[in-house]
Every structure is written in C-alpha cells, then in structure tokens.
C-alpha cells in the first residue's frame, strides 16, 4: 500500500517537474505578476493630469493654481486660453480634471464677494473622481484660509487623519498579499483538474485501472503534489512580500497551516471540475468559470462591504474571502489563531464537504470507468 502510493507520488512529481513551461508560468504568477501588480496598482490619486485655464491672470489666480499643482494629487496637463479648449482636453482624455479661474477672481476676493473658480472633473472613473473632488475642496479650503491671511493657523475643526495597519496608505501591501492568495487559488484549482483530465484524455487512465492501485491512493497522489507545491510557492512570494516591505506581524506556522486548509478547498474544486468534464478544454473552461465568482466575491478585487447584502451572504461561501482575511490579518494586523479561528473554521467548513464530495465523485468516475 505504502509502496504503491510512493510509486504514484513519484510518477506525479516527475510529471509535474518535467513540464518546464508550467513551472515557469506558476513561478511567474507567484513572483513577477505580484511585483508588477504591486508596482503599478494603486487607487490613490496621484499626478492626475490637470488642465489649467487662468482667465484672471493675477497674483491671486496664480497662487490658487499653484496651490493645486504643488500637491501630489495633480500634475499639470497644460495651460489653456479658453474653457472650450480645456473641455476638449477632458473629452479626449488628455486631462482628467480642469481648473477654470474666472475673470475678476482677485477683485472679487479683495471686495469680499468672491467669484467662484470652477473645477471640471472627468467622472468616468467614479472612484478617482470622488477622491479628486475631496482634494479639490480641501485645497480650496486651504487656499481660502491662506488668503484671509489673519493667521497662518486655520481656525475651525481640523482633521488629523491617521491610517492604521497600512500607514503609508499604499495599496502595495494589499495588492501583494491578494495576488499571492489569488495565485494559490488558481494553481490549486487548475493543476489537479488538468492532471486528472489529461490522464483520462490521453487514455493512460486505462493503464492505471488494470493495476492494483485503489481510488484513495490515486486521489492522494493527484492532490498531494499540488498541496506541497502550493505550500512551497509561499516562500518565493514571502521574499517578494518582504522585498516590498510588507511586515509579517503574525506567525509563519499559523499562516502555513491556514494556507494548507485553504489549498485543500481549492484542490477539491479542481477535482470536482475534473470529475464532470470529459476533455481538458472543458475542464479548463469550467475551472475558469468557477474561479471568477470565487475571486470576485472574495474582496480581492473590490471590498466585500460595498456589495449588496445578498452577494455578501453568498461571498461567505468563497474560500478565498476567508483566506484574504487570514492573510491580511496575519501579515498586516499580526493576528494569531485567537483572532482567526473563525476564518480557519469557515475554511474548513467549506473545504471539508467539497473534499468529501470530490473524493467520492473522483472514485466513481475515475477508476471504475466514467
């Protein structure tokens, strides 16, 4: 029994390691893709191209324009002589925001009857636009405090914003961690699905049927390498995570243990997919199909809280959602088993039935003929 299992495991590992392209691709997903995403993706508004139309051309108007441009949020996208030109640059997408200072701006300020400057915002990306609006309003408030010139200290309520767990307000740590989780999910589903169906499609399953191998052994042999590989792949990504300066505040063993539970549910999904598909193409398309909702309802792409209630409830069934809580909790918040037993339990509760179902269907369709 043990020898047969070892033999099978050796076969699977050899097959796995032989496919160089696959290995490179998996490594790519875990490392390069994570790096690219972490470098590029941010929701923070920075260097938003700002078109300036200064119809006033006075010291006050220049100082208002200056107040906008000194911030990190906006970068100049050209000065225009008329509002129409600025509107055209918004239309073509060269500028995303336009500041129009009307004639008589300075005079109005002096007389105490200010002529309001206008900000036109390209709202196509609502998230960016909302942030830009807040910045613009804040800049205007700052400008008015300065122009009143009574004291350098603005009166009134002053917000002191502090961001916890991610003080730099960068998206990097989140992106790095969610990409790692996503990679684990994808590889965990695709690999077992492909390796099982390929065996069936190429007919080598017949050879396995005539051996003395029992279903359980084949099942273990098909799933264990993916699990081991999934756990090992965590380490290169840990390097990346460390390179980006994302702290590991919690404990590594806790992380690995919970990752293993998570991988089991991913693998079970892969085996289930393999059980119902006849060709590799079907298996790949089906796992793709299944991965999408799992991914979208996990909070990796968009926060779960802003989804409608029904989707929030459905999202509880996505193992990736709980795993995201785990990975963010362990890395960023330094949570341990005490805080995360909930998620661990949820992962196990999703994984166990899937795993049982997968192993049953696998037994029925694989070795006993499908």
């Amino acid at each position: 029994m043990a020898w047969r299992l070892l033999g099978l495991l050796a076969k699977e590992s050899i097959q796995f390691l032989r496919d160089r392209v696959m290995l490179v691709l998996i490594l790519w997903l875990y490392t390069v893709e994570v790096v690219i995403c972490a470098l590029a993706l941010t929701f923070e508004v920075e260097d938003m191209p700002l078109a300036v139309v200064d119809l006033d051309r006075t010291a006050a108007s220049r100082s208002l324009v200056e107040t906008f441009l000194v911030t990190d949020a906006f970068a100049p996208a050209g000065h225009f002589s008329s509002a129409t030109d600025a509107e055209r640059s918004l239309q073509s997408g060269r500028a995303r925001i336009a500041l129009i200072v009307p004639e008589g701006f300075q005079q109005g300020l002096v007389r105490g009857q200010p002529v309001p400057p206008q900000v036109l915002l390209d709202g196509t990306n609502s998230n960016v636009a909302a942030q830009a609006r807040a910045y613009a309003l804040e800049i205007a408030a700052r400008f008015s405090a300065l122009s009143q010139g009574v004291s350098s200290r603005p009166a009134g309520a002053v917000p002191v914003i502090r961001v916890w767990y991610n003080p730099d307000q960068t998206y990097t740590s989140f992106v790095v961690l969610s990409m790692v989780a996503l990679a684990a999910m994808m590889v965990g589903v695709f690999h077992p699905a492909a390796s099982i169906v390929r065996e069936r499609e190429s007919g080598t399953i017949e050879q396995l049927r005539v051996t003395t191998i029992v279903t359980g052994e084949l099942f273990v042999a098909k799933t264990l390498p993916t699990l081991v590989m999934g756990l090992l792949s965590v380490f290169p990504s840990l390097l990346i995570v460390w390179w980006f300066g994302v702290p590991l505040r919690g404990s590594l063993p806790t992380f690995l243990a919970l990752t293993a539970i998570f991988l089991l549910s991913a693998i079970s999904i892969g085996v289930l997919v393999a059980a119902i598909s006849r060709t590799l193409q079907q298996a790949l398309l089906l796992s793709f199909f299944g991965l999408f909702p799992i991914m979208f309802l996990s909070g990796t792409v968009a926060p779960v809280e802003s989804m409608p209630e029904t989707l929030q409830t459905i999202s509880l069934a996505s193992p990736l959602r709980h795993y995201m809580d785990v990975i963010l909790g362990i890395f960023l918040k330094g949570a341990g088993f005490a805080e995360l037993w909930n998620q661990g339990l949820a992962l196990a509760a999703i994984g166990a039935p899937l795993f049982l179902l997968a192993s049953r269907i696998f037994g029925r369709t694989t070795l006993q003929g499908g």
Partner: protein, 364 residues
Amino acid sequence: MRLGRVMAVVEKEAREILRDRITVGVALAMPLVMLFLFGYAISLDVDDVDLGVLDRDRSIASRELIDGFTQSGYFRLKRDYLSAAAADKDLQLGAVKLALVIPPGFGKDLARGEAAPVQVIVDGTYSATANLVAAYARTIVSRFGAGTPAAPRIEVRVWYNPALRSVTYIVPGLFGVILMAFPPLLTALAITREKETGSIQQIFASPLTPAEFLAGKLVPYGMIAFIQIIMVIGVGFVWFGVPLRGGLGLLLGTGLVYVFCTVGIGLLVSTVTQSQLAAMLIALIVTLMPSFLFSGFLFPIFTMPYLMQLYTRVFPARYFVDLSRGVVLKGAGLPELWPSVLLLLAYTAAIFAFAVFRFRKKVA
C-alpha cells in the same frame, strides 16, 4: 488562400464547438456572469461605512460633528465608545472601518476660534476604499464650522458620470475585459488541443496552408466573440442603464477590430506552447490580467510609475477601454479617438503577421 478550404476548416471547427455543450455554455454564460458580478459586486462606492465614535468632549459641537458624519450618507454610526482601548479592539476586529476621536475641549476651542483637532483613524487594510473614506472624512471635518462667507467657495462639477456611480464606469470598460478574457482563451485552446491530441499532424499533411488553417479557426471564434460583445453591450445598456452618448456604429466597428485583435493573440499564444494548460496560463498572463489590471479598467493609468505606464501600452485592452469609455460616456467620435483606433488597427495587423509567421515556421 482558397475560400473553399477555409470554409471546410470553419465547418469542422463549428461542428466541434457545437458538439461540446460545456464549452458553448461557458462561452455564452460567462460574459453575462462577469457582467452581473461586476455590475453588482465591484462597487467601489463607499456608503454606510461603519463608524465608531469616541466622544471625549460630549458638547453640542461634538455631537454636531458626529451628525455631520452620519448625515453625509457615507457613514453609519455603529459604536459609541467610552475608552480608546475599546475603539482599538474594534478596529482590529474590523467591526468599524473608521474611528472618530473627539478630544476634550473640542467645543470650547471651536467657540474661541482656535484650531480644534479631531482624530480620524481609518482602517487601511482595504486601501481601495480607505482612501475614499479618508477623503470623505477630511471633507466633512474641514467643512465643519468653516462657515466663513468671505472665503471663495469652489464650484466642482463632475462630467460624464455626475452621480459618480461605479457601474457607469465599470460596464463600458468591461467590454474590453470580457472580449480579452474569452476569445483568446478559446482560440488558443482550440489549436493547442489539436496539438495535444495529435490531430494537427493531419492538418499538416493536408494541402491546407497555414493562413487558411488560421483563418478557418479564426472565423468561428470571432463570431462567438461578436455574439458576446452584442450580449454584453445589450445587457449593459438595458439592464444597468448605462447611457450611450456616442455612436453605436463606432462602438461596434471598433469592437469588431478589437475582437480580431484578441482572437489573434489567442492564435499567437497557441503557436508558442504545446499543452492546453500552459496555453491557458499564458492566456491568463497576457490577456486577462493585463486587460483587467493594466487597461485603466479599474486602476487609473496616470498614477502608475512611468515604466508601468509603458507596460500598459503593450496590451491592446488599454486602447479599447479608452475607446469604449470615450464613445459610451463622453460621446466622443472619431475626431477625438482616432489615435486609439489607429493603434488598435496597427496592433491587430502586427499580431496576425506574427502569428502566421510563427505558425508557418512550425509547419516547415
């Protein structure tokens, strides 16, 4: 290139596709599933953010400030704390996303016309919304009590999407993503499948030229893709109520070019790999991920570092997302959009030339 031979390949391929119910089902259902998931699940709007308050002042002013938060529509008062430790714990658990700490003497400072700092602690784990939450909190606090009439108020007008609904910007961008997700994948699988099962050898032995073979593969998948685009556009406009401000003809026309481009990428992928699993992963890396992450679909390109902005130029999704948003939301026409159209055409031509070249080398 003989039409008869191309048609023969088209017929064979069409028959194979239609026979495979799972593939057809996935190809047709997937874009809709994606559209609905995106339409409903990917909302980056913030509303009803759970707010915790530690009011150490308990004055009229502090209560007014809290009202300012709850009446803004963005925040929902969930907890009223008595100690900082309780607020810390809730933030740690994620029970509240934002804690507002009003120090003692807040009301008095305000009345005296002095600066009255208020601490706003934001849970930064989901920075996508943390940024927004912080921005809204900043606006509410700085507007509070700043009722000076002489200060110039700024007039902010939001164009193209005045309600700042995220669906309105997600759906037009999604056209670009969906067409990048499936057609290349299906095409790449269709050819690598023949390689893996060995039936490609029969093709090689036949009088078919590479161009004929590729054209025959392209037509049925191009058609599936075009059905997908029509479905997605229809549902996007009818169900999600996205406005169509530009010409439908322009959108469909550029959509057709884009479909050829994506199918071409699928062909190219299939020429560099032997196995379907590898083809799928490559397709994932060169089509789905870039179109999703680096096309400006969700993440604005202008905030990326310069090198990454160059990287986004490598993938055609970026141009189509620009086109689609331009036509749908801004009502732009060819005069504004011709650079993107031209780039897309050039890209498609290059992809095809390269795919045929690679494929021919394999045959020889």
